[in-house]
Amino acid sequence: MSEPTSPQDARALERIEKALGGLGGELKPPAGWEARVMAGRAAERAWWSWSIPLVAVAAAALLILWLRQPAQPTMQLALEVSHGQGETKVRGDQAQDVHLGDSVAARVKGRAHRALWFYLNDQLLLACPQDPACNTDDPEQLRATWQPKAVGKYVVVALSSAQAIPAPTGSLDADLAAAINARAELLERRFEVR
């Protein structure tokens, strides 16, 4: 294990360790979570009961109650890659590469203000919700679909905030720094177009 090279390094790492200790300190499980666990337990056990008809109905009702959890404003970013025109969308481990001619669709869910920014080699290409390629019809999510026109390293940044998000200026690092300073939540995804 390598030691920090200076007192300044040691202090910096100590600060990070302390900050890690407090990470998520404000987070609390949603109200009613314990009741949902109890309902989930009952639903699992009900499969093994002798009173199958009666318990199955009760279990189904409990499951429905359990699944109908109030939506939590958790930030999510999803990407889909469509290879070529007219083909079924490809997801996950099969979509290892993105090629010219493919379509990339991004969706972000989160708090009241949301944004999607696309960068090529750290320079801004597309910013949602402003750009015409963005779809703002769905109040629950912000979407964008676009075709990469050049090979290179791309970054998609999803942002979510309770207040307005500063408009990007064109440089990835500067834009992220401004968003962080404005207390926005961020998720990044990177891929390479060949």
């Binding site: 910096a12 314990e34 958790t74 999803a78 990407l79």
Partner: protein
């Protein structure tokens, strides 16, 4: 039949011994209620930060306790109950991340790129912004590195207990976590243009 006098305890008394006694007495409802009351919030913080927008943290969190309830009678005391619980949580977190990757193309970043030596930025970052950008930089670590860093510093596990949670050697985990800290520092300073 083995005499009780020759059966050595596998672990020193567990801080959650009361939960284990309730389970042994067949009081499963009381046992799981106490387990949730005692570890629910801490585990929620771990799952939510580890997942960071991937998958449904609420669902994973609740799933961990349902699974714990199902398996509690078979808990073999090879670790503390808390260590065992976080072992379940770590598996469910990594499963959720893997399932989420089936829906998006993600370029894994196992180690953050470290730039060539450059002068440290002069101004120091305040605590609030440090924590916020730390969460983002943590997200860029590899999944196994991130969950290890959280177990160590967010949840306060020793490397020996982490070895039981992760089913890896303590030395391996220590090396992994130690390498992650300078990488996090570099990411934070690069993103914010401030010194940590």
């Amino acid at each position: 039949m083995v005499s009780a006098a020759f059966v050595a305890p596998l672990m020193a008394e567990d801080p959650d011994e009361d939960i284990l006694q309730l389970t042994a007495a067949g009081k499963r409802d009381e046992a799981i209620s106490l387990l949730m009351k005692r570890h629910g919030e801490g585990l929620y913080r771990y799952v939510t930060v580890a997942l960071r927008g991937r998958g449904n943290a609420d669902d994973v969190h609740q799933r961990v306790f349902i699974e714990a309830d199902r398996d509690l009678r078979r808990f073999a005391r090879r670790s503390t109950l808390r260590t065992w619980l976080y072992g379940i949580a770590r598996h469910r977190v990594l499963d959720a991340i893997k399932a989420d990757k089936r829906h998006e193309r993600v370029e894994p970043i196992d180690e953050l790129e470290l730039p060539e030596d450059s002068p440290a930025p002069p101004e120091q970052l305040d605590d609030v912004r440090l924590q916020q950008v730390l969460a983002m930089c943590l997200d860029r670590l590899g999944d196994h590195v991130r969950v290890a860093v959280l177990l160590r510093y967010q949840q306060g596990f020793s490397y020996e207990d982490m070895a039981r949670v992760c089913n890896e050697k303590a030395g391996t985990l220590q090396a992994r976590v130690t390498r992650a800290l300078p990488a996090l520092r570099e990411c934070i300073e690069r993103r914010t243009k401030h010194a940590v």
